[in-house]
């Protein structure tokens, strides 16, 4: 007699109270409750044990040496606020933040729902920008920094599909940068020279510099009598007119006193004598020529003026190489290293054309083809200059970067060629050894594809979808049939 009854504990309990065994029944239920409670408590305790292994290939969730050093040296408390709507959290980002918290007792973090508590976030909204979900705020004392959600991932533009896709994860870079920013005593200021028709820095470059904690200020050396002592570096971007003798003196004075500067400069459209005499004292001269690249692998397809120069080995360029980035330098001039220069100068070429390049000396020429009077390559497009002077038992070091190109930082290029902005950032870092921000690399989010032919794809798909299940089911069928005929 098959009687279907699901015995639910609850009914059994009620009955057991009427029976003699009601005590036993009550005891049994209580025992179950106690076991469940013990299991829950065990798990709550285990939740507190921070034992985790990062099994990902590129150590997606592990912090770099640099970050750990920064965290271990924290002198003040830092609060990280992640803005996520409840239930919409980004696991990967939170996982990384938790690693920060585990590393340092000075880090605390909370998740706040921006939809629910906008009033808590009003103090972080600068310039009326509302904070969107997915952003992070890093705060210490009275300083704070907002990291937008789109800055946590580096996107690259695919020219073939015309789409942006996520290339790498920069959470650690941004967070460590922000922690450095809010805990730093004073922030590096980059002064941009104005008053000679200089280009202004494009928005993208400004933003990148701000992410790296630089403050950017204009400097007019006609009204100011010197470059401020605390300057991180002086940036001269594509001046169209020359500086006055007075300004040249002021820059010279700054440089001689351990100054640092970077020049993006060309004189194709007119001589810049004072600038040129300044460069000459650092052992280089701008050649009034237009460089044409003869090696088809080193220029943009179809345009030999759009040069993609070779990168020499230098700490400025090694991160670019490892990140497989390139610098794109359209319409470059060449930098000549002078025979007659001070012995204290070290001049290292950074960006160099191939030896198949030539340079047009006749700027009025109708053709870019090689002509008789043209110069033979290779040409330096960018050089790094170090000047070490030993004086009164101390070393004074001056560093200058000269780039014979004014288009590298134009806004259209920097949005499409990540190498160009990175070249500037690494150069600024090199000018004043800010190594902590150089070496945190973004974690790649792209995986290389399998090298598999269409034929192999079909064969193996057939094996896993048809063959293997079929073998199992067939053997099952034979066993079943054999047993039926027993």
């Amino acid at each position: 007699m098959k009687k279907l009854h699901l015995k639910f504990d609850f009914r059994a309990i009620k009955e057991s109270f009427r029976s003699k065994k009601f005590k036993y029944g009550g005891y049994a239920t209580l025992m179950v409750a106690v076991v469940v409670a013990i299991a829950i408590i065990i798990n709550l305790i285990v939740d507190q044990i921070p034992w985790e292994l990062d099994l990902t290939q590129n150590q997606m969730y592990s912090l770099s040496e640099q970050t750990n050093k920064v965290l271990d040296n924290l002198k003040q408390d830092v609060k990280i606020i992640a803005l996520y709507e409840t239930g919409e959290e980004d696991k990967t980002v939170l996982e990384i933040i938790e690693r920060y918290q585990k590393r340092s007792k000075r880090i605390s973090y909370t998740v706040i729902d921006p939809e629910r508590y906008p009033q808590l976030l009003t103090k972080y909204e600068k310039g009326g920008e509302s904070l969107n979900a997915g952003s992070l705020i890093v705060e210490s004392g009275d300083k704070f920094k907002v990291i937008d959600r789109y800055d946590l991932v580096n996107y690259t533009y695919n020219e073939y599909s015309g789409q942006w896709y996520a290339q790498s994860l920069a959470v650690e870079q941004r967070l460590t940068g922000a922690i450095l920013y809010v805990t730093a005593e004073e922030l590096p200021v980059v002064y941009t020279l104005v008053g000679h028709g200089e280009d202004s820095l494009p928005y993208d470059v400004r933003k990148q510099l701000e992410l790296e904690n630089y403050t950017i200020e204009d400097l007019n050396l006609v009204t100011q009598d010197s470059v401020p002592e605390k300057a991180h570096a002086l940036l001269v971007l594509a001046p169209k007119r020359d500086i006055t003798k007075e300004e040249e003196e002021r820059i010279r004075k700054y440089l001689e006193n351990q100054g640092r500067a970077i020049f993006f400069i060309q004189n194709l459209n007119g001589e810049l004598p004072n600038f040129e005499s300044l460069l000459k004292s650092y052992g280089v001269a701008l050649q009034r020529v237009l460089v044409v690249e003869g090696d088809p692998n080193m220029h943009y397809p179809g345009n030999p003026l759009y040069i993609i120069p070779n990168m020499e080995s230098h700490s400025i360029l090694s991160p670019l190489k490892s990140g497989q980035m390139y610098v794109f330098a359209p319409h470059s001039q060449s930098i000549e290293v002078l025979e007659m220069k001070r012995r204290t100068l070290t001049i290292e070429p950074l960006l160099v054309t191939s030896d198949k390049a030539w340079a047009k000396t006749n700027l009025e020429a109708k053709t870019i083809e090689k002509e008789e009077q043209d110069l033979e390559g290779p040409f330096n497009i960018a050089v790094a200059i170090t000047d070490k002077i030993y004086q009164d038992n101390e070393t004074k070091e001056t560093r200058v970067l000269v780039v014979a190109n004014t288009n590298i930082l134009n806004s259209r290029l920097v949005s499409q060629v990540p190498g160009n902005v990175n070249f500037l950032l690494n150069s600024l870092n090199w000018l004043r050894d800010r190594e902590e921000s150089i070496s945190i690399r973004p974690k790649s989010l792209t995986t290389p594809r399998l090298r598999i032919s269409a034929y192999q794809q079909l064969i193996f798909s057939g094996i896993v979808v048809v063959l293997i299940p079929l073998i199992v089911l067939a053997s099952g069928l034979t066993v079943w049939l054999r047993r039926r005929h027993l």
């Binding site: 279907l4 009854h5 049994a28 469940v36 099994l55 969730y61 598999i452 053997s475």
Partner: protein
């Protein structure tokens, strides 16, 4: 225990059940593997393991439906219970037999990443971690099936109820997103939990004093937490459900992290259900 284990394992491969389970599991796994790795030429295998978790819905009932119910239908449970084996030994033997069939099936799927490694580099440790998580998750589902199988003496009912129970777990995971996340509802929910625990204690012991004391202590804890951290109850309902959710905890493995808490949770989850199964059989023995 070992004797029961061997007998059950033999039974799986002497009847169609074991083959149906393996065949169907491998078919689904193979389809997903072919479409997400082979045909798109991507080496990212760990995502296959996370996208086929739904397969448990269908295959776990097949695997566990006959474990206990068949015994009581054929009246062989009398023999088992009167044998010198302990009830715990019997339950464990059956459970491990089902888990062994599942493990065997997983071992066959280990061929897939090996195939991938011919054509590119694979993230070996990530995949190992993913398999550990996948195995423990399956084992937890099997323990649910075993428990349900012990409640009834009809295979079909056991299968249908197991399927429904697992479906409920999945639906709960979708519903979680829509649950209220404000502070008030969190506090109300916490109070309801305290009252529920107190009520359970009252019905089992009929001791009004102890029950009221438990409820009061619960309210005290809630108030204490609220005044020490006012944000604690924001989204409390969601947090509680996510904490108990088997699928939510699988996300860590999916991300490529081997973490202690989901591993311990899956093991204790299975242990609790095995304990419940033992209780049900013991009860039947005494009634």
């Amino acid at each position: 225990m070992l004797a029961v284990f061997k007998r059950e394992l033999k039974a799986y491969f002497a009847s169609p059940t074991g083959y149906i389970f393996m065949g169907f599991f491998l078919l689904i796994c193979g389809i997903f593997f072919a479409f997400s790795n082979l045909l798109t030429a991507r080496p990212d295998y760990i995502s296959v393991l996370s996208s086929i978790t739904f397969v448990f819905l269908i295959v776990v009932p097949v695997l566990t439906m006959r474990l206990m119910s068949e015994e009581s239908r054929q009246k062989t449970d009398q023999l088992l219970l009167t044998s010198p084996l302990s009830v715990t030994g019997i339950v464990l033997g059956k459970y491990f037999a089902a888990v062994a069939v599942f493990l065997l099936t997983l071992l066959i799927t280990c061929l897939y990443p090996v195939i991938l490694s011919f054509f590119g580099t694979i993230a070996v440790w990530e995949i190992v971690g993913g398999y550990i998580g996948f195995f423990l998750l399956g084992a937890a589902f099997i323990s649910i099936g075993l428990f349900i199988s012990s409640l009834t003496d009809n295979q079909v009912i056991a299968a249908v109820v197991t399927f429904s129970a697992l479906l409920f777990i999945w639906i709960l995971d979708w519903v979680i997103q829509g649950l209220p996340t404000d502070r008030i509802s969190g506090i109300v929910f916490a109070c309801a939990l305290a009252v529920g625990v107190a009520a359970l204690v009252y019905f089992s012991t009929r001791n009004i004093f102890v029950s009221v004391a438990i409820a009061v202590v619960g309210f005290g804890i809630i108030a204490g937490i609220y005044f020490s951290n006012e944000y604690f109850f924001d989204g409390f309902i969601v947090k509680v459900f996510e904490w108990f959710s088997l699928l939510k905890r699988y996300e860590k493995f999916m991300m490529g992290i081997l973490s202690l808490s989901p591993i311990v949770y899956y093991i204790t989850f299975s242990a609790v259900f095995l304990f419940l199964t033992v209780r049900v059989i013991e009860k039947r023995r005494w009634s």
